[in-house]
Every structure is written in C-alpha cells, then in structure tokens.
C-alpha cells in the first residue's frame, strides 16, 4: 500500500465524515431535546449517549421511559434494536484480526452505523485495516458530535425553535441512503440494498421498526447472493469509480488483479 493511496483514502474518509458529523450533530441535538422533554437531566442524557452510543435505541428509550416501561423491558428492547451491530463487527473482523485484543475491545464500543459505513469503505479501498482511519471515522464523525450535540440539546435546546423546521430530521435517512450507495459496487450489492429496504419496510409495518431493520439487514444479503454474479452495471460502476472504491482504482495502482466477484476481494 503506497502512502499516497492511503492518504487519499483517509482524505475521502475525512470529507465523508464531515457530512456524517453534521448528521450526528443534528440527530444528537434532537435526541437531547427529546430527552429534555421526557424529563432527563443533562447527566442522564449525557450518560446514555456516552455508555450506549446508539441513536435509534436511545430515541426509543426516551419513548419507553416516557411511556412508563419497566427497566427490564427497556433493556431487552435495547438489545433487540442494537442486534444489527453484530453484523458490522463480523464484517470488519477479517480486517482487524491481527490487531491487539484490547484495541479491538475499545474499537467495538465506537462501532455505529456511521462508523461502519465509513470504515468498511475505507478498508476496502486500501485493502487492509487502518486504525487511524477507524478513529477518524468513529470518533471524528460520530462520537464527538453526537455527545456534544446531546449535551447542547438537553441544556439549551428549550430556547431553540423546532429543529425539524430546518429539515434536520431528514439528515439521518439521507446519510444512511448516501452511505449505502457508496457500498454498491455491483449487482449483488444493489439487489441486497433494494431488497433490504423493501423487506425492512414490510416487516416494520407488519411487526416492529427495529425488527424491520434487523430483518431487512439479514434477508437482503441472502437475496443479493441469490442473483447471478454478472458484471458491474454502468450506473453502479460510475458510482463506484466516483467513490474510489473500485479495485481497479486505488488497488490497480499496485498492480492488483481486478475481480469484481471475488468474495474475498479487499480482504487482507
């Protein structure tokens, strides 16, 4: 891996992290407002952001506390909502296998939707793990903005007009959609993303939104694997090239062979 390619990929992480930081900041601020309106103190809201660090379950917890759920119920539902993180850890594990265990243990706490999306794209671009790149993706894009914005929302939020007037509520789904596009490098990824979305919505309506997200995330890849490998279609290829994640991009500079359907592509 040459230093210029690594630096280029880290710059891409930094640029994308800026957009994610806006999303995390806006989302964290809204969470702080919601926690404040549910009667959380700044210490309680801040502790939740620091110790749980998982937005969807924190929002749900505010609703549960407000609705008078038992703590046992809140904890069980939190575990269910956050189950999808096991998929992220499993996807990153091959890259991080040779890193010290204490380091991986710390990295695990910072593994969010956003950190995963930025990190997996970065690791695939460079073909290996990059710990500083992970910190940039996890801490710079999400951990710091999320925690600062939570405290801001829960302390001074009452004097600010409804954040949804500024469209802040649409930033999270837009960021997730945009990051998904960055990971689409062929027909299989496209089918996995589309089917994950459809299954997610269907199960959410039939059962529960948290179940929908987990089910969509689990079923989508199966449908993606079911389609023929095929070639990379042109629109996806353009997106891929734009993101610099095509193996023929950064890795071709090292003389690496191009094989879009190699399941171990990009793994160390």
């Amino acid at each position: 891996m040459d230093a210029a390619a690594l630096a280029a990929s880290r710059r891409r992480v930094a640029i994308d992290a800026l957009g994610i930081a806006v999303s995390a900041g806006g989302f964290g601020f809204v969470y702080g407002l919601a926690a404040r309106s549910a009667g959380f103190s700044p210490l309680e809201a801040g502790a939740m952001s620091l110790l749980v660090f998982a937005g969807a379950s924190q929002f749900a917890a505010v609703g549960y506390v407000l609705g008078g759920f038992s703590w046992l119920g809140v904890v069980i539902l939190t575990a269910f909502i956050n189950a999808r993180h096991v998929l992220y850890g499993a996807a990153l594990a091959p890259y991080l296998a040779d890193k010290p265990r204490p380091l991986r243990a710390v990295m695990a706490h910072l593994l969010t939707d956003e950190a995963f999306a930025l990190t997996i794209a970065h690791f695939r671009r460079i073909g290996r793990a990059d710990v500083p790149g992970y910190w940039l993706a996890a801490i710079g894009s999400t951990f710091i903005p999320w925690n600062l914005a939570t405290l801001l929302g829960v302390t001074v939020g009452g004097s600010i007009p409804d954040p949804s007037r500024f469209g802040l509520d649409v930033i999270f789904p837009a960021a997730m959609g945009g990051l998904a596009v960055g990971l689409i490098i062929g027909r299989r990824e496209l089918v996995a993303a589309l089917s994950g979305a459809v299954v997610g919505v269907a199960v959410s309506l039939a059962w529960d939104p948290a179940a929908g997200i987990v089910t969509g995330g689990l079923v989508g890849p199966l449908l993606g694997m079911a389609v023929g490998a095929g070639g990379v279609d042109e629109p996806s290829r353009e997106a891929l090239i734009a993101f610099g994640t095509e193996r023929g991009g950064l890795m071709r500079q090292q003389g690496a062979p191009v094989d879009q359907d190699d399941p171990e592509r990009g793994l160390p």
Binding site: S57, L92, P263
Partner: protein
C-alpha cells in the same frame, strides 16, 4: 440534578456492547468460508438501505406501531442519494436534502413530522 436513569444507561450499554464486540474478539472470525464473507460484504448496503427506507417510509407512534408514510422526505432522501451517486459528495447531498425539506416546510407544502 437527577442521576436516577444513569444505571439504566449503564444496563443499556451492557446489552449493546456484546453485539459490537463479540465478532471482533472471537478468534477465527477472519477465517470464515468464502460464502459467509460474501454475505457479510452485502450486509453493509442492506442494513443501511433498510435504515434509510424505514426511517423515510414508516411513521412510528408512541406505542411503536408503524404506519406507511409517504411525505416529501422520500424525495429529499432520493435527491441526496442521487447527488452522492453522481457527485460523490455526501455533505452536499445532506445540505440539499435538509435545505429542500426546510424550504418546503417553510412555504407550507410539506408538513412537520
């Protein structure tokens, strides 16, 4: 200042951490069969798309019942996705999406959530 919910935050963190940590800490995760690795490669786009779609199209009430919802938000999210695909600029996509919804709400075309 109340600290009564801090133990709850700790418990929530306690049940969240294993989901994140176990796959990273269990030995042998990097020697998975090729088909499993392919599956894991497809998890990212699938989960992120599910998150985006559910957040955009499912409206949740206090009892966590979901109802199908088609507002202007889907157009804003779609615009962001298009900008990312064409211009590779997520930050610009997010600004355009939020700005579009803010304007539509300001002029009364789109309703507040």
């Amino acid at each position: 200042m109340s600290t009564a919910l801090i133990p709850l935050a700790f418990l929530m963190g306690l049940v969240t951490y294993p989901w994140r940590a176990v796959p990273l800490l269990v030995p042998g995760m990097h020697r998975l069969p090729a088909q499993v690795q392919l599956y894991l490669r497809l998890v990212g786009p699938s989960v992120l798309a599910a998150l985006a779609a559910v957040d955009t199209f499912v409206s949740v009430d206090a009892a966590r019942h979901g109802t199908f919802h088609v507002g202007w938000e889907w157009l804003a999210v779609g615009l962001c996705i298009a900008i990312v695909a064409i211009r590779r600029n997520l930050f610009l996509g997010l600004i355009v999406a939020a700005g579009m919804i803010a304007i539509l709400r300001a002029v009364g075309v789109a309703s507040l959530p």
